[in-house]
Amino acid sequence: MTLQVASAIGTGQDVRTSEGQPGWLVVAEQECRDLWASGRGLILLFLFSVLVSAVAYLTSTNLALNFLEQRESVNLVLQFAVAVGVLATLVVSADGISGERERGTLETLLVTPVSRRSIIIGKLIAALTLWFATFLISIPYLWVLGRDVGILGPALALGFSVGTLLAVGLGSIGLLISAASNSNKTSVGASIFLLLILFAPTQLPSGLPQGWFFEALLRANPVASGLAYISSLLVEGHSWTQDLSYLITPLLTAIIAGGALVLAGPQLVRLTRGVTAG
């Protein structure tokens, strides 16, 4: 008998609603509703608000005691907002496929005509809304800290650009890990571990030691190099183009991870063997 393998990935035309909405948008809409209406997104946002308030309070007291310059305090809060926003995006992404698999809701999605690619794109977009929300929340804090030194506009543009690149890159990695993991705990744990590894070098008290090796290490790390770019502009007063090379890794991460998610992700979105034997 000739083997006629079913195209389980679905190569046919994707769904479009009678209003013209593509399948990924339908998935994104529902995922956003699930994220925000279920309260999960709001809880994460509330925790972020508490933390950013504490960080802003500490930096402003340091500012009053002349321990910190105003530019440094803006940089600190912005870096915190980017790091936590990206972390939240990563955690939500990491739950995207493995969570559905564990809750037994993935199969009902897979038997609909919406392609697997649309499913993961919709999930990534929903996860990114968490980054955008954390960024919005941090705006008033940045305004209070940076209003007198005229860096609010650049800080916001910078934070938004770098943060979005990192959120797309790491959110895509989170979804790829989630699709490849059989357990949700493994997926979320691995994603948080990844972020901690990437984020740790930025938290060393005196930064990374000097030397070409550590410079290479910094530039290979998308989070560290993205945050270094923010510092170089806000604290050291460099121009936009002076240290642009710091953005290569965040940009490549977003392109490569996003591309891998769109191209290879659909192959990973499947029920694994042994879900049931019947």
Partner: protein
């Protein structure tokens, strides 16, 4: 005119050296309810997952609603599925859940809203549509799952263990729904289960799987006949008329009569070789015996056929395959 809507030819699924499903072939027509039976691990769910495009077969072909296996998207547009142990987003309401799935099939917001209301009413959940799914009982969730399987008005509906864990009332409601799907919607229903009484109630055709292979297929009657089970019956008559009953039965060809040990008013009647003695089927031979006893003026207190049920055929076929 009915058409073939499900056709599986030599479907096989292997995971390395392990073969989950081997060369499974069957077909079903429009409006038919076909039961996919088998003990746990027989390959029912794997077969359904292949037919619903969730798993790729290792070899073999299938077509659903005329679409060949390579047209996965077209197949998905034509089917409705209630997976085994399907999960539900507990924070969503029943109506919201159905609306989302209707949107996944290309319905507009308005169409999805009216379809959701219509389907909730069809499965008897119209009053609970605005409640969160977390507040639903298991039976209500199963009915919601069936409603979801109908959002695209499917040609074929796959139901994997839809009555699992339900109480008798819940089972009856789900079975009623299944009949309605086949009769009113003229859809083919592929029902996977290991509860045989429900299959006898609703299925026009069955496929019995064991260890991934088909060990029996056809109508319920055909499967029972194919199992070649010894057909027998237990006959209870008043104690003082037992001898007369034996006398009446002895004259019939092909029947063996014996006393049930410890129960003097109970006779066991067996068909010696099904169909061989008189050319009649085992059931006809039994009917002839019952008629003879009644004609002799003996009141029949109990007459119970044994070996003529689907469960007997199922047990014989699956145990033979193990042996």
């Amino acid at each position: 005119m009915t058409s073939v809507t499900v056709e599986a030819v030599e479907l096989t699924k292997r995971y390395g050296a392990y073969t989950a499903v081997e060369a499974v072939s069957f077909s079903a027509s429009q409006g038919e309810i076909i039961g996919l039976l088998g003990p746990n691990g027989a390959g029912k769910t794997t077969t359904i997952r292949m037919l619903t495009t969730v798993l790729e077969p290792s070899s073999g072909e299938y077509s659903i609603a005329g679409h060949p296996s390579r047209s996965a998207t077209e197949i998905r547009r034509s089917i409705g599925v209630l997976p085994e142990s399907s999960g539900y987003p507990s924070h969503q309401t029943g109506a919201e859940y159905l609306r989302f799935h209707a949107r996944l099939y290309g319905k507009s917001h308005g169409q999805a809203r009216s379809l959701s209301a219509e389907l909730l009413a069809a499965v008897g959940l119209e009053k609970r549509g605005r409640s969160r799914i977390s507040t639903y009982s298991r039976g209500m969730r199963q009915r919601l799952g069936i409603a979801r399987a109908l959002v695209n008005d499917p040609v074929v509906v796959f139901l994997d263990e839809p009555t699992l864990g339900l109480d008798p009332a819940g089972q009856a409601q789900v079975l009623d729904l299944i009949r309605t799907i086949a009769n009113a919607r003229d859809a083919t229903v592929v029902l996977s289960t290991h509860l045989l009484p429900e299959v006898e109630q609703v299925c026009s055709k069955v496929v019995i799987l064991n260890h991934g292979r088909v060990v029996g297929a056809g109508s319920v009657g055909e499967v029972i006949d194919a199992a070649l089970i010894e057909h027998s019956a237990q006959l209870r008559v008043p104690l003082h008329l037992v001898a007369r009953a034996r006398q009446a039965l002895t004259n019939l060809p092909g029947l063996t009569i014996e006393q049930v040990e410890g129960q003097p008013d109970l006779l066991r009647i067996a068909v010696e070789t099904p169909g061989a003695a008189s050319g009649a089927s085992p059931v006809e031979a039994m009917n002839a015996g019952l008629t003879a006893v009644a004609a002799a003026g003996i009141p029949v207190l109990r007459f119970e056929l044994e070996g003529a049920r689907l469960s007997d055929a199922f047990l014989k076929m699956t145990s033979e395959a193990v042996a």
